[in-house]
């Protein structure tokens, strides 16, 4: 039994101030400018003239306590114990001692943690749990990220792209990884309708909730002995029914796989934020190294790197050259699946004669 009298609840997170490097605390809100000191290395200068150096390295996101302790030891050795993580799962070591940068960088690289991810580099891939820990995953997440970044590691440790390039991966349409606004998005997809377990549905699900969960109305009250019926041609494999009802599994080893999306961004720089658009509708799952996915992503990155102008994000580049040219340059096949047929689909039809020949 838990002693309720001693139970602490609703305290929220520890206040961040106790975790700030003294130089950061002193110059909080007083930063004047920053300079790049090479891939993965930033120097921020305050109005007071104080400087804080950041050394950014990659992490696989899935970290053991052993590795976190290693990072803690490094932070003690070089950074008076101060470090942070970025919104893209990189680690940033923070020091006011310039002399510590090189030895820290060398030690990280020796231990297998590439230093980079800043400016016009590819940063770490934001991703989801996949087969490691999710019930609705159409693919693994960590495995594909590992393979794609093995192939693109030089793009992490160098800043040689026309602009920054952000990749994200989500292992199903729920998109915990919110890949809908990434330069390149890798998205796990299902392609077969849920296999309804009629016996289990009334035991584990609220039937009205299940029926109303379907965005296309494909799930109907059952006829004959069925608890629910499914109009198969109306199913778009979103998996929402499975999220509300475990008796509607749609995982399928041979038909689940990946799709590739391009041209999204969240930054407002130059052009407004935009959604990623479909590039490749389906690539089969091919663990453990997913060569077809790696090849597809590397191809898009390389074609972009060769053709985009300075500052152009992937989406800005494609808008300038036009989608027909994108498909031509990348050699990606254009199919009927690229033409939107969901709500207000017409907004993506070509509604002008601004055509390139």
């Amino acid at each position: 039994m838990v002693d309720m009298s001693k139970r602490i609840t609703d305290i929220g997170p520890p206040n961040y101030e106790q975790f700030l490097h003294p130089v950061i605390k002193k110059n909080y809100g007083q930063w004047k400018y920053h300079e790049s000191m090479g891939p993965g290395l930033l120097c921020h200068t305050s109005e007071s003239g104080d400087k804080i150096y950041s050394v950014r390295c990659a992490s696989p996101r899935l970290l053991s306590i052993q590795t976190i302790r290693y990072f803690a030891d490094l932070a003690d050795k070089y950074c008076d114990g101060y470090l942070r993580f970025t919104s893209r799962n990189n680690v940033e070591f923070l020091t006011d001692n310039k002399d510590n940068i090189e030895p820290l960088k060398e030690e990280l690289q020796k231990e297998g943690f590439p230093v980079g991810g800043t400016n016009n580099a590819i940063s770490n891939i934001v991703h989801t749990q996949g087969w490691v820990h999710c019930h609705s995953a159409a693919t693994d997440a960590s495995g594909i990220v590992k393979c794609v970044m093995d192939a693109l590691c030089d793009r992490f440790t160098n800043e040689n792209l026309p602009a920054k390039l952000r990749i994200a991966l989500a292992c199903c349409l729920n998109m915990c990884g919110a890949v809908h606004c990434s330069d390149i998005a890798i998205l796990g997809v299902h392609r077969k309708v849920p296999k309804i377990n009629q016996e289990l549905v009334p035991k584990v699900c609220e039937v009205p909730t299940l029926i109303s969960s379907c965005p296309t109305g494909a799930i109907r009250p059952g006829t004959d002995d069925n608890v629910v019926d499914l109009i198969e041609e109306q199913c778009m494999f979103c998996g929402n029914c499975y999220t509300v009802c475990p008796a509607m599994p749609l995982n399928d080893p041979e038909n689940d796989g990946l799709s590739i999306w391009v041209g999204g961004k969240v930054s407002n720089a130059r052009t407004a934020p935009k959604f990623s658009k479909l590039a490749i509708p389906f690539i089969p799952n091919n663990p453990p190294r997913w060569p077809e996915v790696v090849e597809a992503v590397v191809n898009i990155v390389n074609v972009y790197a060769q053709n985009a102008k300075k500052f152009e994000r992937v989406g800005e580049w494609i808008e300038r050259i036009g989608w027909p040219k994108f498909f031509e340059l990348t050699g990606i096949e254009f199919t009927r699946y690229h033409v939107d047929d969901f709500k207000f689909a017409g907004t993506t039809y070509a509604r002008s004669v601004h055509l390139r020949y």
Partner: protein, 395 residues
Amino acid sequence: MADNGNRKTELLDQLESGPWPSFVKEVKKAKETSPACDDLLGQLELSYNQKVGHWKHGGIVGVMGYGGGVIGRYSDVPEQFPNVAHFHTMRINMPSGWFYTSEALRTLCGIWERHGSGLTNMHGSTGDIIFLGTKTDELEPTFAELTAAGFDLGGSGSCMRTPSACVGQARCEWANYDTMKLCDQITREYQDELHRPPFPYKFKVKCSGCSNDCVAAIARADLSIIGTWKDDIQQDDAAVAEYAANGIDIQKDVCDQCPTKCIDWDGSKLIINNRECVHCMHCINVMPKALRPGKEKGAAFLLGSKAPILQGALLSSVLVPFVPADEILETVKELISRVWDFWDEYGNNRERVGELIQRVGMANFLDAIGLDPIPEMISAPRDNPYIFFKEEEEE
């Protein structure tokens, strides 16, 4: 099935090589302290062989008095992998900006060594520290140790999700308000809504200090608070000249890239027409030593973004174009209470705020929360003539 560390994982072993850090190595390292990691490897190898996941759908588990923060997870092959029969996730509310001391990290590691798999995500998609995998009867002891050390659970389910913030004024000259402080304040203000899901669906808040939007607030938060400024860009002409001398082509790299073409350069003097600036950050990004956001700082409030499930992905749209920095917290509280009232009343099950707005119409939604429509809220006025005129406005 566990065979003293000699389990064969031929497929996963192939993911240990290559220049990028390997998650497989991480799982193998964690075997030192947790037998569950060996079974996790076994089950994952099975998934790699069969190309299908082996986790069962959810399951309601948690700590007493909380309705979220723990995600139930069960293996569908527990007889083969008994040590991951239950393998629940705990979400732990991260400190603002993901700053830590080595000591704080070691405290977290110690707790997770004693009570769980020793595997984590630093961090999860919403921003929480993720403790990946433990048994049901370890949840309460883990929680007790976490709270004793000053940590608390984050959000899950139909609740206020753990708010997140960019690095903000802690280490960025572009932060137009104190994102980390606001995030911390909002998190403390709504502890009840965070821990006891009261809503039709999830509600996310993200705080970005400028329109570069490093936490993707405009794409990933129901309420997106994005820093901006109202007066003129701060300009240091000597530094502009220095950039020009050091190889920046001011005309091509700065002026021609400006979305409203409000910057002129005659080879020696940069002139910005600040009234036509849309605060996109491009020129400032290119010349951080020469140009800085103005001094009249604050934030724009946008509402409604989400990933595709159910009705399709949405970006947030403008609700309040500018709130001065010192009024942001009060505005958040006022706005949230009005939005939640309407959403509570009219939202369908699993309907995000953005989808509710799509369903009832933005104009009706604005009526409901008591905001007047203004042109900053739209990219263009409607282009169809089907107007629901109100009776009192007819002659």
